[in-house]
Structure formats: C-alpha cells, structure tokens
Symmetry: D2
C-alpha cells in the first residue's frame, strides 16, 4: 500500500505501446523525428495554442528550472509560494540554471498565492534597486503542493498582477492534469486564456515513465531555448522515446482520464478520513490528501504496511492526531485504496 | 539507408522487455528502487569494480558534463582532443556545468591524444598560474570521435602522464562497448586497470532509448555527486525506467553483442570502400567509417537515398573524392549495409 | 547632513597617506608586492591569527560572496538572518558566485540569530535530502544590519550549533570594527576564539576608499581561493593600492579609533531621539540607529535637508511616528550630528 | 629595472590629486555621486559618443568578462585571437561570468585577426547547430597582446565581418591609449566609427591605480548591465574613488600623454635591440617589445638585475637568441630604459 507519492507508480500500458510503435527504423536525432513532431502538435492541440513552442524533457525539475532560467536573469526576482516545489524540492535547480535568481517566497493558504500578497511583494521588489535585484517572474503551481487548485479566475487575477508589473507568469503543472480534471475547464482556460505565459505540463506523475512538456505560449519567449536545453544535457538524441510518452498521454484524453482516476481515489480516502474522525487540513481538489488522522488510525495503517509521509516532516511522529500526506496515482490499486479507507474509518 | 548516426536507430527489444517487466507496482522514487539497485550492481560487475559508484542519466552530454564538473573546478583546465565530443558537440555543457572550466584542446592522429603531446601541454598548464587556471582533468574518448580505439596500454600511458601531474583521467565511453568489442579485452582492462578514474559508459548509441552510466572507480571522487545530478535536473523520479535499460544491456553480454554487430557492419562497408577505389581516412576500429569516396560513388549513394554526413562539414560538397562519415548501428538493416556496399564498390 | 549611509563618507587621510607612500617605483603585480605582504600580516596580527589566510577585495559584496562560495557548494544551504546583507542587499551575489546555493533565512530580534532558531533550522535542513540540498554554512553579521552586536559568547553559542552540525561559521564584518569598539573585546575573542571560521573584515565603511579583508582562520579552507578570486575579476593587478588601505586602518589602531568615533556619534543621536520623544527600535550598539521619531521631528529634519532612509522602505512615509534609519560615519561632521540632535530634541 | 609589466608601475600624481579632491564630504553611494557623473561624461566626450553607456570597474578582467557576458549567452561562441588576454590570462573569467560561453580561438600574425580567418570561422560556427553553440561575439584587443595595433581600417574590416554575421564587436582596450597614441587617430575613429560596439578602455596600465571603463556605444546593449555588475561584486559603494582615476586620465589628454611616453620608451629599446644584433619579433607599435636578443645580452641584463619575461614562457631559458618580452610604462625610469638599452647594444 504505497501512498507516498504518485511517482512511485508505473507507466500506463498505452505509453509503452506508443513507445514500442515508435521503436522501429531509423529517424533523425535530437527531435527531428516524426514522433516528436506529432507529440508537439498534440500538446499544442490540447492547449488550443497553435503557435506555442513545445519541448520535452525527462524531469519536472529540469522543466521548471529551464523555464525559470529562460524567463529570469541571474539577478532576477522570482515570486512563488513558500511551499512551491521550485523552492522546496528541486535542490536549488532554478538558482543553478539561472545562475542565481532569487526565489521570493510568499505565504498563502492551501499553497495558493493571493493577488494582494503578490501585488504587495512585487511592489516592494520593484523598489529593491540594484541591491535587491530585478523583478522577473511569477511562478505558481497548479494543482498546488497542498493538493488544492487555482481556478481560471484565480489564475487570471494573479496574471493581472504579474502583467501589470511587466512580469510573465509561469505555471508549474506537474499535476496540471489533476487540476483540469477537477475543474472541468479546458486546458486553454486554465493557462493562456487566463494569462499564463509558460507552462510545465507534467507527464511523469500521470502515467508516463519520465516526460514533461515545456510550453511557451508566445514563441518570442522561447528564443535560444533549444540551446539552453542542449547545454544542460536535456536534449535527448533519441528524442522519440520522450515524445512518444507525451503523445500517448495526449491521445484520446488519456491524460485527463488518468488524472480523474487518481483524483477519484483521493476523494475516497478523503471521505474515509472524515468518517474516521480525522480532519482534512486542505480541500482535496486533486490527487493528494493532507489530513490529521487519529493516532490509532495511523498505527493501524503502519501495521498494515501503508507507506506515506508524515507532513511536513517526521517530527510529527508521536502526535495525535497525526498530520499525513496521502497521494494517489492513476494506478494505485483499488484494493489498497479500499484497504486504507477501511483502516481510516476504524 | 541511414548511416548518419547510431543514435538514429532504435532500442533493442530486450531493453523494452526489461522495461516492461519493471513497469509494475509501486516502488520508491529517485533511484531507491530494486531495478536501479540491480542495474548499478550489474555495471559494477561488468567493470569488475565492486566499490565503484554508478549512477545513470538519460544523455551522454549530461553524463560527460556532470563528471567533468565533478572533477574540475570552475577555474580548472581540462585537457582533451581538439575533436573531442565534449569540445565540439555538447554546446559547452562542460563549461556550463563546471561554471567555466576551460577545455584545452590538443591535436592527435585519429582522434587520439599521445602521451608526449599531453605531457607537454600539462607541463605548460602547470605553469599557467592564476592567469591560466589550474590543471584539473584529462579526458579521452574511447572509441574516439574518429572511430579509432585506444588500447589498454595506450590508456595506461596517458593515465601515467595524468596521474604524475596529479590529474584524474576521464573516459567518455559513449561508444565504449564498440571499443571493448574490437579490442577483445575486459572492460576493467580498458578502464580502472589502465588508470581511468571515471567512465561514462554509453547505452544510448548501443541499443538503449536514452541511458548512460557514470562510474567513479574511487567512491571518494563521487562526494556530493547525487546533489549535483539532482540540481541539474538529471535525477529521474521514476528512475527504474532509466536503470532498466542499462540492466538489459548489461545482462548476458547484450551490450557487447550489439556493439560487435555494429562494428561488423562497419567492417563490411570499409571493405567496400577500399574495393570501390575509396580511401579509408582512419583505421576502422569501431562502428564509424571516415573515408574519401569517389564522387561517382557518392552521387550513386545519394540517388539511392543514403543518409550520411560529409565530414567534417558540408563544405566538402563537390570535392572528388568526397570525405564522408558512415556510422553503423546494431540494427542498421543488413540489406542497407549490403546495398550501400554495392554502391560503394561501383 | 547625510545620515543615509556610512559609505557616503570619505576616506581617512591616513589611508591616502599610506597609499601615496606606496605609490612609488615598480613592484610585482597581483599581490606579490611588499605592501600587500605587510597588510596581510597586519590583519593577521590584528586577529592574533598567525596562520590565517588573508586576502583583499574592493567591495563587501565580493568579499561575502567569494567566501560563501568558497564554503558552500551550489547545492548548499546557507543559514542566515532574514535581514542579512547577503540576502537583502547583494543582488543575489552569493547565489551567483556559488552557482545556486540557497539562503535559508531565519527570524530573530535585532537582526540576530538565536541558537535555538538556528539549531531547529539546521535540523530540518539535515533531513532535506536531495530535494532540499545539503547543509553547508552559517553566516552572521556583526555588527548586525540592525545596529546591534553579538557578544563573543553569543557568537560561540551559534558556532557550537554550526560546528555540531558540521558547518563552518562565516561572519560578515562589514562593520566588525564598530562591534569590537562597542564590546571592548579583542578581535580574536569575537572571531576564531568564539568559533568563527571565516571573516569578512570591512574597511570601506570605516575610512577606506574601497577595501575589505577576507580571512580564513584555517588555511585548509582557502584551497583554490586565489583562483576563485581571480576568475571573478577581483584580483587587482596593482594590488598595493588595495592593501595600502587596509594597512593604514590596521596601523596604530586606526580602525578601532574610527569605529569608536562613529559609534559615539550614534549614541549622541540616540540620546536625542529619546529626549525628543522618539523611540529606539533597536539597541544602539554600533553606528546605526533605528528609531521611530515624531513626524514633526521628521518634518523638521527634512526641511533642514537631512538625508536618511525611512525604514524598511518609503512606504513609511506619512506615518507618525516615522520609522527611520540614521547612520553615522567616522567623519560625519560634529556640527551635523549636533544639528540633527537638536532637531530631534525638538 | 622592471620591464616585466606595465602593471608593475605606479599611479600618476594627477590621479592621486583628483582622488584627494574627491575625498571630501558626503555623497550618495554606488555611483550616484558627482565625480562619477563627471568621469562618465569625460569618457563619453573622449569617445565623441554622447549616448554611450559608460561604467567603471577596478580590473581589466572584470571589464572584459562583464562585457563578454553581457553580449554572449552561456551557449554563445566568442571569436578571438588564440593569444587574446581573455583566453590566456583571465583564469576563464569570461566563461565564468557568461556561465559557459566558448572562446573560439583563431590564429593570426602579430596577435591580429584577419577578416578572412574570422569570416571562415564565423561561417563554420554558423553551421554548428545545437551541438556547437550559437555565434555570439567577436572580440579583439587593441593594442594587441603582441604589441601591435589594428588601424581603424583593419578594425572596420573585422567589424564588417562580424556585423554581416549579426555579431557585435568587442574591443579589449587595456592598452587602447597606446594604440591611439601610435595611430594618431581619434578614439572615435578606432572604435564606434569603425564598428566597435563595446569597448573596455584601460586605465590601470596607464597611470591609474586600478580603473577601467566599460563602454556600450548603443545603450540598448547595456540593458540590465548594472545588475550584472552589482551581482558580481563590481559596483563600488564609494564609487567616486574609481571614477576619479578615470576622470584624471581623461582630463587634458593625460591618458594619451602617458601612453605616448610609454610608447617612446619602447621605441628606444627597440632601436637598441636592433643595434645590438637582436631581432624584433613583432612590429613595435605600442609599449611592449617582443624580441630575440643574443644570449650574451640577456645574461648581461640579468646580471644587471633587469626584470622581464622570457616569452612565451621560461622554456626559452638557455636558447640563443633568447625570446623576451619587454614592457614599458609611462613612468619606467629613463635611466632604466637607457641602462637596458646600453646593455642590449652590447
């Protein structure tokens, strides 16, 4: 019973199937192959963004860091939530790729920035002068690191603040599919129509082996980007194997189907938490649950071999109730979900 | 008929088979999975290096650049051949990862450094002072960018020069399997027994989708390396899919078998070149041929749709004979090899 | 009447005198000159640290950033106060020089870290894994950015926390002289005897034109440092002109004399603030005052042409009382001090 | 008798005089002072470039590296002579500041690039693709590292090649004054009128303590440059002391006067070399002489305590004739020049 992370789970058979189809004959390398062309087009279609520049990499950290470095100079100020993945979980990759850009971290309920908090911080930053660096970028995560989602309107409100200050808006969409599946909106509504300038659209946590799309809605923002990606070792010579994964996910709505499955499992657990006397610490709007569960339930889960993290860290050990993070993947076994749910209900 | 590059070709079915096997159930991420453990052990076994630190990445550029940065500070001097892949073909990735290390490029027949040339350059570098930077690393490629190979004795002679100057020796082994297959030696003989301190062992050009091993024979040299890899976005969260590829290649000698196949195809073409009045510009010791072929043969090949590069660049267009590079992969169709051979023979 | 910053003021005549003495004849460049040798020795003497490695640069930002980069890898976590100069006022130079190290900023009264806060943060960081980066360095400022000072005991307590976690301790001493002058301790007591591993000893704000010393108490920590400094353009070819400034300050206690003068002026203003109904927001322990002064006093001061900053920024305009920062230099005219004091008293 | 380098010599009294004048009262920091304003204006006047952006730093390495990084991305190709200072003598500072830009070094008599060589290299580079990086910048040194000078026409010819390929032209003018003094042209003729886009105008080797001007003739090329300078620790808080040096040199033609003096001394030595049976290895067009002198003359000079470098390195020890570099400064004592001349004549 693994609820530790969605990256603990496997790739969807369709991903391997498209990969196997692509595994035939000779094609030109470094992305000049037909599978890559099809996959890039599929992502553009998915986003209703025919002019967007789409590229693929194998990790979410690379995707975020490359895009941040593309949009912020080394002396740039990048505004993000204090619990943003780019701040907490990428080993300072954005700083490394940008050669020093500073992440200005902001508070916000449920992992979400508010327009007011952002506006105030951007205002302060605008006066930071040479000492403080130059306002450069706003980055949000959707679905957030706390399992919540920004609606298109909420994204648009943040985009307005960013754009009024002359800053582009980046969306870390490692779990973008989960957000879209929850919101029932279009991918375009949640991105460029709401003012997003660059999107990292995750595949890895949603049925791929290791594939992420980086999307620049305005091609002018992607100038030189292929060199940047190459120089960091993130251009695959046999690029078709990366592209095939994203192509599979973008085909017939598989990406949304898988995300919906993961979300549904999370809802089942959320209900069980509540029924078992636990408390949801955040609205459950994607595939992750943050909850305080009775210590007795936690002990039973541990005895049953359930894997998950105490949150935010293991210093929570011994508390009652116990704060935990439970993450569901598209293929978390139904029996495991049911099993943990039963344990949580007590 | 694609002879442009070995990265134009596909992944071996066994690679996909091991991948599919690995695609089941939940495992811990970031390399803490059993497939990765097995794959790392398999590479250590292959190299008879039980204490070596082995890690995987998806591209050869990342492998080389990460290892170079690990072994050279930003003010370091890295000695390599003037046609080394790290100099000509990685978009200054070693400089990027190391934050400025300078590649000191040296001449040498057949893409190979000689001990004398290296010793002289290292001697000059030792006196370069603050202005010139600090001697840091020697890097060689085996098989070389010109299709030749260093023997274990030749590697050892270079290693002696390096070590006497206090420098470690890195081997870019993007086509290491091709070299071993040609030499008939052990992988250990060609690496640590000859004095190699760090090896990049390529899988991508030899039947993988995109997988390379980085090997530090002395674990002390790998200190902090996992952070370095993580910060550059080269740690895959679902690492098993990377590891599975290398595991497949390392199993039952598949890596050597595939390299031998590619080498044999190259020998067939080499013979055809000679028989057809062309001239081999380099000894054909791996899977690449550098030859001057009669313009008539070139024209016939073009008419037949054969893909390959004029070498070193297309300024050779119009010459007679025409200098070309022909690269064979493990799965270049026999019919294509025979077809091009026939054309070359005239 | 300039109370904006101590860097607004001039160089002491003795600094120019030593400079003029040094301006004669030919010497070897890049620090291999006798003035540099004498100046480095003088700093070692001043610190009672005969084995220390001492080097000079022209700016405090360079000094701090070079030392931080020397002591922290790109994936390192550097712990500092949230108002530390390295965080707020150096345009992300530490991140640039270190290629990405992350400043972990901590709260603390009066610009001072407490052992408990530090210990807790270091503990969390120790568990951050690849995602969060590697604990690398603790940095404190003395005198602090809020005009307060750490005593030797307070430094020692922080050093213990750092050292127990295996981390070196850096002290940003842009106003180190002001702290020593206030505390009446020895420079050694406040640094290496208390556990400081590296010190940036400022001259610029204390009577130099532009000169700072970087000191590594353990020479092993300075390995490669001269290359680092050279590569960043911070080795002056005519180094004697940099060294002469520090030599002048280190001679006959001039550095302490000047700092004491500045501190005394600050005390005069502090008293005037209190007498005038204002409130000192921080203990005045060096040459800077942070105070909330009646708006009427502020208006009078403005009318009289007094220059100083509203603090932390100009959003304070219009408040009553008005939070301000007043900084004194060694040569702030007594008449100006008296003049502002009179205005503040009302 | 020091002929080792022009940076071995002292600062002109007028430089110290202007410095002392500037050493009075309080001014705003970081360049917002009247001396800086006057100095920047003086350099613009000197160059007849009223719109140029002018900034100062303390070292030539910083000046060159900052400007190169401003004009080339990390994946850029920078074309320069193989003996360029940026290649041989700056500890890879251009690579560090640019985060990896590759210096493409080209041969050329007398340290000078030719349009043909440059054009060919730029043409190859234009086809280098992602592997080879992006053509970004051409950099020349005037006077060159071999003591020769480019005429305005020669600069213009190189500028045409650069501009036709879309690349800006940078001039490392560490000894720009020496070139102008020799050529008798205007500074404008040798720079922007000939197509130079950015100039590093040296003061350090020409009577300053440590001061260089960086000039962008098109302000658009300087966007963000102040942040870049700040982040690298090269903005002096008491900037007036840097500016005063350049102001002194730019006043009443002092810069040209001092350069002419140094050049004249070099001519005296050159004549002595020839008369003494030695051979000038390069035309003596600035303040440096490269000559092969009889071993007997060398031995006499050594016995007399003359300091200079064997060139290119000390492996020349024992040769007859002995290749040497002799550098004159504005204040190399006439007696020393006469003394060495006598020795050289035999």
């Amino acid at each position: 019973m693994n609820f530790a992370s969605d990256n603990a789970y496997s790739a969807h058979p369709a991903v391997l199937a498209v990969l196997s189809e692509a595994n035939s004959g000779a094609v030109m390398g470094y992305g000049a192959d037909p599978v890559t062309a099809r996959a890039e087009a599929a992502i553009r279609d998915l986003l209703e963004a025919p002019d967007a520049v789409v590229r693929f990499v194998a990790t979410g950290t690379a995707a975020n860091a490359l895009v941040c470095a593309q949009l912020a100079p080394s002396w740039g100020r990048i505004y993000c939530h204090q619990d943003a993945h780019i701040e907490t979980s990428e080993c300072a990759a954005p700083e490394f790729f940008s050669h020093g850009a500073k992440l200005i971290t902001l508070p916000g309920q449920g992992g979400k920035l508010t327009p007011d908090t952002l506006a105030q911080a951007v205002h302060v930053g605008a006066g930071a002068g040479l000492n403080g660096g130059l306002n450069a970028l706003v980055s949000i995560t959707n679905a957030t690191e706390w399992g919540t989602v920004y609606t298109p309107d909420e994204v648009a409100a943040l985009a307005r603040v960013a754009h009024e200050a002359g800053l582009p808006l980046h969306m870390d969409g490692a779990r973008f599919a989960n957000a879209v599946a929850t919101l029932g909106c279009s991918a375009a509504d949640l991105t460029w129509r709401a003012g997003v300038d660059a999107l990292c659209l995750g595949g890895t946590k949603n049925g791929a082996m290791g594939a992420e799309a980086m999307v620049f809605f305005d091609p002018a923002r992607a100038e030189g980007f292929d060199y940047r990606r190459k120089q960091s070792g993130h251009v695959l010579s046999k690029n078709r194997y990366l592209s095939a994964q994203m192509l599979a996910l973008a085909t017939d709505g598989l990406w949304l189907d898988l995300a919906a499955r993961a979300n549904a499992k999370a809802q089942m657990l959320a209900q069980a938490v509540t029924e078992g006397g636990g408390q949801l610490l955040q609205a459950v709007q994607s595939n992750a649950i943050f909850a305080a569960i009775p210590k007795a339930a936690h002990d039973r889960a541990q005895a049953a071999g359930a894997l998950y993290y105490l949150w935010p860290d293991k210093s929570a050990e011994g508390l009652d109730p116990v704060p935990v993070r439970l993450v569901c993947a598209w293929d978390t076994p139904d029996a495991d979900v049911a099993g943990l749910a039963a344990i949580l209900r007590g």
